[in-house]
């Protein structure tokens, strides 16, 4: 028996209808495919609800330090912070003070990448701004260029200990580093460590997702809720958005 074109198409339609589920539902958590690559189909971004963020909570900063082996040297001038908790006060006490985490804003027009003399800092196709530490010469021009104070230089040698995350390298002395949206987790289809920690231990104030997907939680929220970015006047188009600032 031979099937004509119409029958084959009809069978295909039935097969497709069979695997479609309600939106937001997946059958099983599939492992990532063998080969993945950053693509401009995605545009990763973060949304932080300042109203939910508690000034005493440091779940995100702790998780970041643990996940990315961010060293602490014990010298406040030289310690490395990928994510910092800031307290913003109104000088005239008209509004209550707010606490918010600040990190690399993964700008669409990153001044750090523009000034980098070796192209060590670059913007990946999916919008994550990264430092290629193999190329960084430690000139610190990017640290001057960044308006968010998101970057730190590794001033001292670091070493691995039993608590270190083996998936992530430790640091070479004399390179600049910053938040990378936990790129190794994002490439595996997971959420950054701070977002996971905020959901599990904190107040669920952080959302991470794809702005190019109109159905994603973050896209819906940015469309429907009033959000802001820090220093939007600079025209850098940051991709860390804040709600209730």
């Amino acid at each position: 028996m031979t099937m004509d074109r119409r029958t084959v198409l009809g069978l295909g339609g039935v097969a497709t209808a069979g695997v479609v589920l309600a939106p937001g539902m997946t059958l099983i958590a599939a492992p990532p495919p063998d080969k993945t690559e950053a693509s401009s189909d995605q545009r990763w971004a973060m949304l932080i609800d300042v109203n939910k963020c508690d000034s005493n909570c440091t779940a995100c900063t702790k998780a970041c330090r643990q996940e990315n082996n961010v060293p602490l040297f014990g010298d406040p001038n030289r310690d490395i912070h990928w994510i910092r908790k800031l307290e913003i006060r109104d000088k005239e006490h008209r509004r209550p003070s707010v606490s918010l985490p600040v990190m690399c804003n993964h700008c669409e027009n990153p001044p750090c990448a523009h000034v980098c003399p070796t192209q060590a800092t670059f913007i990946r196709k999916d919008g994550i701004v990264l430092v290629d530490k193999h190329r960084c010469i430690g000139c610190r021009y990017c640290m001057l260029a960044c308006p968010y104070k998101a970057r730190s230089l590794v001033y001292h040698e670091t070493s691995r200990n039993e608590d270190s995350n083996p998936e992530v390298p430790i640091r070479a002395k004399g390179v600049v580093e910053k938040c990378n949206f936990c790129v190794h987790l994002v490439d595996d289809g997971k959420q950054p460590a701070c977002v996971q920690a905020c959901r599990n231990e904190g107040k669920h104030a952080m959302i991470f997702g794809d702005l190019n997907d109109p159905q994603s939680e973050i896209s819906v929220k940015i469309r429907t809720v009033k959000t802001q970015t820090i220093r939007a006047d600079l025209g850098l188009k940051p991709h860390v958005h804040y709600e209730g600032l």
Binding site: E37, R171, A172
Partner: protein
């Protein structure tokens, strides 16, 4: 002879050269003899030979072994750049897969690197997968 007598400086130089040759020749013979001894000695003392690597666990490498021996450094460096800058992650060809067969870095990578005297600094920051 007439011309030499007319140029006494040339004659002196020639005489000096002859004497120098007579004096130096036995020294050279002795030196070459002892030199041969030295070579012989070092050859007999050297027993190392190229490092013998432990057999890898798996069936076959992801590329032919001959090709890997010659090209692994360019392959790894190219993949490194692609992974960092383009986000390319091929899980079946990641370093984790290398470590599944070549379980000890000391008995695999370091053996040849020490033998040929190269010092790649990959593992000063990264950890070799266990």
């Amino acid at each position: 002879m007439r011309s030499l007598q007319s140029h006494p400086l040339k004659f002196t130089v020639l005489l000096a050269l002859v004497w120098a040759f007579v004096l130096v020749l036995p020294t050279m013979v002795v030196a070459s003899g002892s030199g041969a001894d030295v070579t012989q000695h070092s050859k007999s003392a050297y027993t190392g030979g190229p490092p013998q690597l432990e057999n890898a666990k798996g069936e076959a490498c992801i590329r032919p072994s001959d090709w890997m021996r010659r090209n692994h450094m360019d392959f790894l460096k190219h993949r490194r750049a692609q992974t960092v800058r383009e986000g390319l992650r091929i899980r079946s060809e990641s370093l984790i897969k290398c470590a599944e067969c070549h379980q000890s870095r000391e008995k695999f990578c370091d053996q040849c690197h020490n033998y040929v005297g190269v010092a790649p600094d990959c593992f000063e920051c990264h950890s070799y997968p266990k």
